[in-house]
Amino acid sequence: MHSLLRFLSELQDVSLLLWQAFLSLWSKPRYYADTIRQMDYVGVGSLPIVLLTGFFTGAVLLLQTFETFQYYSMQNESGRLVATSLIRELGPVLSALMVSGRIGSAIAAELGSMVVSQQIDAMRALGTDPIRKLVLPRIVALVVMMPLLTVAADIFGLIGGGAVASLMYNQETSVYTYSVRTGISTSDLLGGIIKPIFFGLIIGSVACHKGLSTSGGTVGVGRSVTNAVVISSIWVIIFDFFLSKLLQYLLDIGRL
């Protein structure tokens, strides 16, 4: 098949899955217990790696830029750079990439092995809609938890930057926090929360689609997992650009 055609049909399948999940949101039965369990798994489970990523990203941002700021005698402003780049870009994107690696792969593997061992068929045969029972709880969990994880990563990133500033460059903590505060605007915060909602949707729907469309036994499960992570990561990065542009337009972000 022509690769463009294949791409379009994949896109159609993912959108269709998302749409079906969306529709089933409004009617019974609802699987609250499954949703809570997924939230725990996605949120609490991913917290350590996301915090670690955030912390060191903030730290390295300051490490790499402090001396340049110093050269222009603007070292008191260095917290601004950490804050803006973390909250606008690196917090949402890096958290999404970490979550896509950890959760996207787990979702694709779990659903994929359920397909090849006929558990999905069994579920349908027993009268349960797998989209309600499996897909919706996962997407909801990702959409709810992604912004929270991102905020946590942002906060740890700012702490990381502050730690480098005060421990390695002996900057006053108050100077750093002041420059951080001037660097953050309301629309930055808003954008930094809107983005991860979309990233959660992307990761959830791509991973569920890849898992559910698994074929070809255990080898197929491996393929689905790889595809889920690669495709959702790429989509996060591509989508991030267009989302940034849109948010710039809507919220007036990025103009100083």
Binding site: P29, S113, M114, S117, Q118, Q119, D121, A122, M123, R124, A125, L126, G127, T128, D129
Partner: protein, 301 residues
């Protein structure tokens, strides 16, 4: 209806059970409820891309009847079963469950039909993340049945398959035969009147395979369940088509051989090849058949 070339060949050879079973399609309309088939396929076609899987398949399973489906792997046996459950839709033709046409049922409509059907999957298909209890209870939990009723029903079902001890276990702690039996218990919860077995004995040791056949016989003879039993093991075929279950004076279930004069009327065999039914009839007719393909399949020569 069944007028493919191959069927004609068998008719010429004097084996006309294929034709003989055809009139029941016509009777079905005004016959009493008892005569209405539990499952009926009318000229069903299916192809994946350009690979034809089913090419005009028609058959019916009467109430209380067991249909044994034979055929090489890849001949479309599981496909037929998936269609009965509405997991797969035919390209053409009609499918009836209990007289209700389900060919074009949407997924929500299909849910109520599936309540009548129990399905035993090839490898058991137990939910890995749920205990044996929760697997067997699954359908009842979904229906919101009270917990104490579920408990009674789950224990009754596990007793039926002789696995009461395993109730707390997880599927990965079970042997292949136990998994299959839990799968049967799960399928039988709610006493479905139709039960589908997809190679339930594949890869099991002979005694366990025998136990599973006995369960199928018990359902057929004592509970009046209609079933489809997919297999390619000749032992299964022999048990199912020559033994019957009765309850003896002490109230125990015993299995007896059909003997010389008696012939089991509630078990039929159908064989699929290249997307078509090449044989349909009783065990005795199958044994007497002299088509080389069928003979090789049955006798290995």
């Amino acid at each position: 209806m069944l007028s493919s070339n191959e069927n004609d060949t068998y008719a010429e050879r004097g084996i006309d059970e294929v034709e003989a079973s055809a009139p029941e399609f016509d009777d079905a309309v005004d016959a009493p409820d008892r005569m209405r088939p539990a499952i009926e396929f009318r000229d069903v076609h299916l192809a994946f891309d350009d690979k034809v899987i089913l090419d005009g398949v028609s058959f019916s399973v009467k109430k209380g009847q067991t249909k044994i489906v034979l055929g090489r792997s890849g001949s479309g046996k599981s496909t037929i079963i998936r269609m009965i459950l509405g997991l797969l839709k035919p390209d053409a033709g009609q499918i009836f469950i209990d007289g209700e046409e389900i060919t074009h049922h949407s997924e929500p409509d299909m849910m109520s039909v599936r309540q009548k059907i129990g399905m035993v999957f090839q490898e058991g298909a137990l939910f890995d993340s749920l205990s044996v209890y929760d697997n067997v209870a699954y359908r009842l939990l979904e229906q919101g049945v009270p917990e104490d009723e579920i408990d009674v029903e789950v224990r009754r079902m596990l007793r039926f398959v002789d696995l009461e001890d395993a109730i707390e276990k997880m599927p990965n702690e079970l042997s292949g035969g136990m998994r299959r039996r839990v799968g049967i218990a799960r399928a039988l919860v709610g006493d479905p009147q139709i039960v589908l077995f997809d190679e339930p004995t594949a890869g099991l040791d002979p005694p366990t395979a025998r136990t599973i056949c006995e369960l199928a016989i018990k359902l057929r003879d004592l509970q009046d369940v209609s079933s489809i039993f997919v297999t390619h093991e000749m032992n299964n075929l022999r048990y199912l088509s020559s033994e019957y279950a009765t309850v003896n004076d002490e109230g125990q279930v015993v299995y007896e051989k059909e003997g010389e004069k008696l012939c089991l009327i509630n078990t039929e065999i159908m064989m699929i090849r290249d997307g078509q039914i090449i044989f349909s009839g009783k065990d005795e007719e199958l044994q007497r058949n002299d088509d080389p393909y069928i003979r090789r399949f049955i006798h290995g020569t």
